[in-house]
Amino acid sequence: MEMIRTETALESRIWDVLHTVEDPELPISVTDLGMIDAVDVADGHVRITLVPTFSACPAIEVMREDIRRRVRELPEVQDVQVDLSFARPWTIARMSERGRQRLVAHGMAVPAARPPARPVACPFCGSTNTTLENSFGPTLCRAIYYCNDCRNPIEQFKPPHDS
């Protein structure tokens, strides 16, 4: 029978640390991105399960190392293992509202968390009169749109394709 668990003090401190680990390429934490699937602690041994947005993203190893190093600094922690998992794949619904707001403030368009899909809104002028210029952008998780009203190029946070 599975026991009902409550979060221990150490687990809660680990989550506090994770809230401060940011994506090296975007102003958003790994927790706001929704990349942390689980934190398991047993006798000071910590296992953190990380869910990539795009599996080939080169920032994964940077975040993985940051997590390992920062969590290891907690006095009660003996060792930290960060596993990648695709069992519950990343979707845009995993991103927190706070994370979404930070990306929009940074000048990115972010798709709706849930269907129905809505037209891409320009983060500068709010117009939805936008056109897809390129499904590929400066990183694997970005596409390029163009705002036909304020005439700015837009980076859209691009989730993996669900269809």
Binding site: R47, F86, P89, S135, H161
Partner: protein, 257 residues
């Protein structure tokens, strides 16, 4: 505790099968990366660079799985083997030649990869099935990109159409070679890790791609050929590619960067 990351079953032929997939992705990813700075427009320059980065990243994930069975690391598998030890389909190692050939190859290969990933995603090895399902969602953008360009070129001028037909004639027999089984692949299928064997995957791929090609007025020359890559027979193109790709690694194997 959450369940540990999946442990791969010890199935004969599985390591070889994973290597073949990883080799395909690495070698074709390298070829795509050669368009960086040279593609016909800046959007394609960015697209091919992204697709290259993604294929090489996918290669790394499959090499890690293979390394878990064979020992070594993703890097030693990618950089420490000779051409005869590579299991990639010959299609993936061919020179880019021209943009038309690269687009035809991208279309044919990514359609084949999609069928292969679907067979793995439905299979019984949890970690592989999860990985394959995740990769399909990423690869979908490659599929859309390849088909869009194929339609654009095949429907343009007579010269463009003729060049695409020529590229298809060159690529087709070697594209069929993507489904050449690796040694003991039968055991992998029988273990349930794949839901379709190579012949059934090839059949499905052929049906799907010919529907698009025929719609565009392109002919497929029914010829068998292009096998050999899965057993280590390669063209000179691969030897030259590996020489370039591994030059830095060979300068000091095991160095950390």
């Amino acid at each position: 505790m959450t369940e540990p990351a999946g442990v791969l079953p010890r199935v004969t032929g599985l390591a070889g099968y994973l290597l073949a997939i990883a080799d395909d992705e690495l070698i074709l990813g390298h070829r795509h990366s050669e368009w960086t700075g040279f593609a016909p427009d800046i959007e394609s320059d960015v697209a091919l660079s992204s697709i290259a980065q993604e294929e090489i990243g996918h290669a790394r994930l499959f090499y890690e799985q293979a390394a878990a069975l064979l020992g070594g690391s993703a890097d030693t598998l990618a950089y420490g083997r000779s051409a005869g030890e590579f299991r990639n389909a010959i299609l993936t190692e061919r020179l880019n030649d021209d943009w038309g050939y690269s687009i035809v190859r991208l279309f044919l290969y990514d359609r084949a990869d999609a069928v292969r990933l679907e067979a793995l995603a439905g299979g019984t090895a949890r970690s592989l099935a999860d990985l394959a399902a995740a990769l399909r969602r990423e690869e979908k953008y490659h599929l859309l990109y390849g088909e869009q360009w194929l339609r654009r070129l095949a429907g343009a001028s007579d010269e463009a159409h003729a060049r695409i037909q020529g590229a298809l004639d060159a690529a087709w027999p070697e594209a069929v070679g993507v489904f050449e089984p690796v040694e003991e692949e039968r055991t992998v299928v029988e273990s349930g890790i794949m839901t379709l064997d190579a012949a059934a995957q090839a059949e499905r791929w052929r049906r799907e791609v010919t529907a698009v090609l025929e719609e565009l007025g392109l002919r497929v020359t029914e010829e068998r050929g292009g096998p050999g890559g899965r057993s280590g027979t390669h063209s000179e193109d691969l030897t030259v590619l590996l020489g370039d790709m591994t030059e830095v690694w060979r300068a000091e194997p095991g160095a950390t960067w």
